[in-house]
């Protein structure tokens, strides 16, 4: 078959591309148009045309004018403004801090301590997140510590609500490819975070080299609720949880056990050599592991297939503990994340003064 014969029977690439273009063009009606410039909204927000023009018209004085405007706004709102670097100061702009506020409602029948315990867990979760936030932006430019995170606050609202507010440099929350950003914080904060080690009976799931009547549960599978928990989060010593060096298989975890749990675990290991256990988070399997070698007394050492980021999330849950009761997110808000000249909309009322946020992180 020569080329001519092929062209007789097979469509040319251009013909296929034209067909794909025709199909893709069907998406056009669903594409939104950028909203028109809203002069009233701009004027109301303090970002009016006149102000911007003044920057253009008096280009040489623009930095001074805008810095002065910043000071006025700062005084007016009683806020301390932050700047991430000299460039921002010279331009009279500051990288706006993103402030997110999430309100959670505690679900179920509550005991007297549930509200306090929930607030404590949420505080521990947030206090671990900020040191892990990105230290550079997407372009690799360093983000100063003072700008990276500016604190958080966890407020109890009896009888059954907890409000979490946190703020961070917009580059961290919106542009970061790092683990923690607005989306992932929001997704993970209200999760129960119940970590447990569940024994998998050899008669059902097999043991080393011998298949059981059921296959081993895979990552993401719900764990059989009838199976006994060998260890729960309460058995782990949150201050001594470490990740090992990642190998081809994943990141190993070294979890120290509390004094009261060490011996029962040691006994379990001795009596179940060659059997499987499952590591589960919130009732879903993360890993199944074969008990194959003695571990140091008081430690649970797991070789996992977890990638670095995933291991970090798991350790985050382990260290901060499980929520005492389920939470439902009842509201969420966040503020501007873009580098606009400072104005009322960039300094929201929920913004936390540094002193308040520091005391909040310490007191909770």
């Amino acid at each position: 078959m020569n080329d001519n014969e092929i062209s007789d029977f097979e469509p040319a690439d251009e013909q296929i591309l034209a067909g794909i273009r025709r199909h893709l063009s069907d998406v056009e009606p669903s594409l939104p148009r950028p909203r028109a410039y809203d002069a009233d909204a701009v004027a109301a927000s303090g970002l009016g045309r006149g102000r911007v023009r003044s920057r253009i018209g008096f280009a040489g004085l623009a930095p001074l004018v805008l810095v002065a405007a910043l000071v006025v706004i700062a005084v007016g709102f009683g806020m301390s403004l932050r700047s991430s670097g000299p460039a921002a100061s010279l331009e009279g702009t500051r990288p706006p801090t993103s402030v997110a506020t999430i309100t959670y409602q505690l679900e179920g029948t509550l005991s007297a301590s549930d509200l306090d315990n929930t607030a404590a867990v949420l505080s521990r979760r947030l206090s671990q997140i900020f040191p892990q936030m990105a230290s550079s932006d997407a372009a690799g430019s360093p983000i100063p510590d003072t700008s990276r995170s500016t604190g958080f606050q966890v407020t109890r609202e009896p009888p059954d609500r907890v409000v979490v507010s946190f703020q961070a440099d917009y580059r961290v929350v919106s542009g970061s490819t790092d683990l923690w950003n607005l989306d992932s914080i929001r997704a993970a904060m209200g999760q129960p975070g119940r970590v447990e080690i569940v024994g998998l009976p050899p008669t059902t799931y097999g043991s080393g080299g011998v298949a059981g009547i059921k296959g081993l549960p895979q990552r993401g599978d719900p764990i059989d609720l009838a199976l006994p928990s060998v260890l729960t989060g309460a058995d782990f010593d949150a201050s001594r949880i470490a990740e090992g060096t990642a190998s081809d298989g994943g990141v190993p975890l070294d979890i120290a056990l509390t004094a009261s749990s060490a011996q029962p675990w040691s006994d379990y290991v001795a009596g179940n050599n060659g059997h499987y256990v499952a590591l589960a988070l919130d009732g879903n399997v993360i890993e199944t592991s074969l008990i194959s070698s003695p571990t140091p007394v008081g430690h649970l050492i797991l070789t996992t297939g977890l990638a670095q980021r995933d291991a970090s999330v798991l350790i985050w849950f382990l260290k901060s503990g499980a929520l005492p009761v389920p939470l439902a997110e009842v509201s969420f808000s966040s503020t501007s994340q873009v580098p606009v000249p400072s104005g009322p909309e960039a300094t929201p009322t929920q913004i936390l003064p540094p002193s308040a946020s520091q005391s909040a992180s310490g007191s909770n």
Partner: protein, 186 residues
Amino acid sequence: MMAVVTVDRGSEELLELVEDVDEAGGFGALYRQRYRDVYRYALLMLRSAEDAEDVTADAFQRAYAAWDSGHGPAGQALPWLLLITRRLVIDKTRRRRLLSWLPLASLHPSHEPSAQADTDRTEFWLWFERFARELPTRQREVLILCYQRDLDDDAIGEILGLSASGVRSLVGRACATLRRNPEIWR
């Protein structure tokens, strides 16, 4: 020349305040001219209107930051914008993977592709699902970029990190795949 883009994520809605001070154009003009192109690319790559909206907002925010600090596009603006958008799409996809395997079962509803339910019902999205099933991501992406007629092979290569011949080769492979599935392109 000055443009202001404000994103209000709290209300889950994009509020753009774009002011084009310079009569000759500027970031505001670029924004108005290319918003749909950026959004279309994000929408087709992510298949979620909500995520596409977020990514589009972030892309223009980053573009504005670069533009304002004198690091605008060296050549054509569209490849530059789409390159920024592509990085955000990759990031978004990576986050989705992370959050989807971790049993974070009760992700807030707003994180779910709520608009997807609507879009799925349309004929276009039914077709697009078939299109996406048959083609690997990279081949699909190159065809989506080819749809943008004002992008030549060099520009597409700039976005994908390929040479122009690499782009042609990728298009060729995509067409070979589609040749076996004529119902997708006819």
